[in-house]
């Protein structure tokens, strides 16, 4: 009897995927785009690189229903790798997509006009480019969860990757709640890498009097503290070539200063200033003057 019961349970477990719904009845999106020109426009592309005609609606739930009707199948956005947004929509609908519709928190959020990007999108290529740039220390890691966290901070800005025309490596922009967008310079983009959460283990090419030389970044971390209303950021980098440490230190310092200057002039916080102030018992305010002192140690 026990064996019979166990066999029935075992057989039932084998049929957990059986239902009237087949895989072709679902649209598994690889990339989705949103714009809000009066109405919400929703763009999708599946993993076979098939584009669907954009649908319109007044809410996320409605556009998803419209998309399902247009495609004749349920839309599953749980595996989406790229969310394309512009200044009209900002990150406001992303929260609903994450918590109500199961959008992946690790999804990349690209700043671009969906109507232009979804003309000839190369999602797989772009996602790969962003990931490799992040691994190689060219781009700070950005994803939906971190962008939303920054977005809900007091300065209401998020750091998002952008594909600039004529550039092979993606860049970064600061998206503001009012839809404005501040493009970061190449130096600031690299500075952001050192100042935000980072890992290391990549090579960097340095210009020295003896020509171009490579050094391995073994690890890098940022220590933050606050003293007498002054904020201190200390970047500590471990390398594999000690003779190049001086050159690297000067370069990182320049890049970090550039990143902080551009971020502060855009009235943004994407390096955890708010948490630092709150932990020190200071209530952060949008217009408060901020002084950040940077130092870099290369070991």
């Amino acid at each position: 009897m026990k064996f019979l019961k166990l066999s029935v349970i075992g057989l039932c477990l084998l049929f957990t995927g059986c239902s009237s719904e087949t895989i072709s009845d679902r649209l598994y999106t690889q990339a989705i785009g949103l714009t809000c020109n009066g109405k919400l426009s929703f763009y999708t592309q599946d993993f076979n690189q098939n584009l669907t005609a954009p649908v319109e609606g007044i809410s996320i739930a409605e556009v998803l229903r419209q998309e399902e009707s247009a495609n004749g199948g349920k839309v599953f956005i749980g595996h989406t790798e790229l969310l394309c947004l512009d200044g009209t929509c900002t990150l406001n609908p992303a929260e609903e997509l994450l918590f109500q519709n199961g959008l992946s928190p690790a999804c990349k959020v690209l700043y671009a006009k969906p109507e232009e990007y979804f003309q000839t999108p190369d999602n797989a290529g772009l996602i790969h480019q962003i990931r490799m740039s992040e691994q190689n220390g060219l781009l700070s890691t950005t994803e939906l969860a971190t962008a939303l966290n920054e977005w809900h901070g007091i300065w209401e800005t998020a750091l998002l990757p952008v594909q600039k025309a004529g550039q092979s490596v993606p860049s970064l922009v600061l998206l503001h709640k009012d839809g404005r967008c501040t493009e970061l310079s190449d130096f600031a983009v690299k500075g952001m890498y050192w100042l935000r959460r980072n890992t290391g283990d990549f090579k960097i090419t340095l210009q020295t009097p003896d020509g171009e030389q490579e050094t391995l970044i073994r690890s890098c971390r940022t220590e933050k503290q606050i003293e007498n209303q002054k904020i201190f950021y200390h970047v500590i980098v471990r390398t594999g070539t000690p003779e190049l440490n001086g050159t690297l230190q000067r370069l990182i310092e320049k890049q970090c200063i550039c990143a902080v200057d551009e971020m502060l002039s855009a009235k943004a916080d994407v390096i955890g200033i708010q948490e630092l102030l709150e932990n020190a018992g200071i209530k952060p305010e949008k217009d408060m003057p901020l002084t950040i002192q940077l130092s870099v140690t290369v070991q």
Binding site: F99, N101, G102, S104, A145, L148, H152, R197, G272, E275
Partner: protein
């Protein structure tokens, strides 16, 4: 009722408590971790002397005092109803894929009817198996949340310390079950109860820690820190972990409701043996009705105020009465002699 092992008692109480922990409605701040530890300590300090005072005769008191039995039955019905109410209010759509929350509740109630029909001992035997599944899911949750952890989000705060304690107490309804189940285990009752209390507090602190450090500001937006954490904790890029969370979510709710139903069944059987067959379905229907009419905040409020009465005051009064009666008996016997 047959005997329940120590580890089974600890597992069943913990799983029932874990359901309440995953349904914590909001996060007050970093101090909530401290509140949880303090609340756990208070519960241990309250329970230990009472367990020492009652060496397994509490059910006999209920047998002889039917009003007391009814009070405990009502309390466990409220605890069960709170479980359904939490299910309706907390469950995000991706963790409750059944069509409609009421349908899901009825399906769960049917499952609970089946599981409670086998008796509390069978449920207790199943508890360690569910526990292993639960541990696997928690490991997956931690692995997924680990890379988002930012320790700078943690700070030492003491504001909102008391609301944190209150929340934890209002989510500890299963603590009253200790008294009813205490006479079903032979020895080392204290070990079982302490293990359950410490494990529950540690699980709660773990959830709060990852909610704060990995969720950041997003935790405050969505409410229900655990469900926000499950949305953020997806350890694999090509595979979502939702199925595992659904499994644990439903299993914990079934364990929670089965425990409450089983205890109601146990008490009513002791009071009126005739109720053996229909007490489980009636109590499940009653729980669903209560949950339909009352929000979890109301039910949690009742649990918060009733819990100290049922776990400390009533047992203390009964024990004192018993003690005085024994003294009087002794005096009487001296007088006769």
């Amino acid at each position: 009722m047959s005997r329940i092992h120590n580890h089974q008692l600890a597992a069943i109480l913990f799983l029932s408590g874990a359901w309440s922990v995953i349904c914590i409605p909001s996060l007050y701040g970093n101090s909530q971790m401290l509140s949880t530890a303090a609340a756990c300590l208070i519960q241990i300090l309250l329970c230990l002397p009472m367990l020492a005072l009652y060496p397994g005769t509490f059910s006999n008191q209920i047998k002889s005092n039917k009003i007391l039995g009814v009070i405990y039955i009502l309390f466990f019905l409220i605890c069960g109803a709170n479980g359904f109410s939490q299910l309706w209010e907390a469950a995000p759509p991706q963790l409750l894929p059944a069509s409609g929350k009421l349908t899901a509740s009825v399906l769960i109630a049917l499952t609970c009817f089946y599981t409670s029909s086998a008796g509390l001992r069978a449920t207790a035997r199943a508890a360690p198996i569910v526990m292993s599944l639960f541990v696997i899911s928690v490991i997956v949750l931690i692995l997924g949340a680990w890379r988002r952890v930012d320790l700078s989000r943690i700070s030492l705060q003491t504001d909102n310390f008391l609301p944190g304690i209150r929340t934890y107490f209002s989510l500890s309804g299963e603590l009253a079950a200790v008294w009813i189940l205490s006479d079903t285990i032979q020895n080392h009752k204290n070990i079982a109860v302490n293990s359950y209390l410490i494990a529950k507090a540690l699980f709660c602190i773990l959830i709060l820690f990852f909610s704060i450090t990995a969720g950041g500001r997003l935790i405050h937006l969505n409410g229900y820190p655990f469900f926000t954490l499950t949305a953020l904790s997806q350890p694999l890029q090509g595979q979502r972990a939702d199925a595992l969370y659904i499994l644990v979510f439903v299993m914990l709710h079934i364990m929670h409701t089965t425990l409450q139903t089983g205890i109601v069944e146990h008490i009513s059987e002791q009071m009126y043996p005739i109720t053996e067959k229909w007490s489980a379905p009636v109590s499940l229907i009653f729980m669903l009705i209560l949950a339909y009419f009352f929000k979890s905040a109301v039910l949690e409020n009742i649990i918060f105020w009733a819990l100290p009465v049922l776990t400390v005051i009533i047992p203390l009064i009964l024990r004192t009465r018993q003690f005085l009666r024994n003294i009087r008996k002794k005096e009487h016997s001296y007088e006769i002699s």
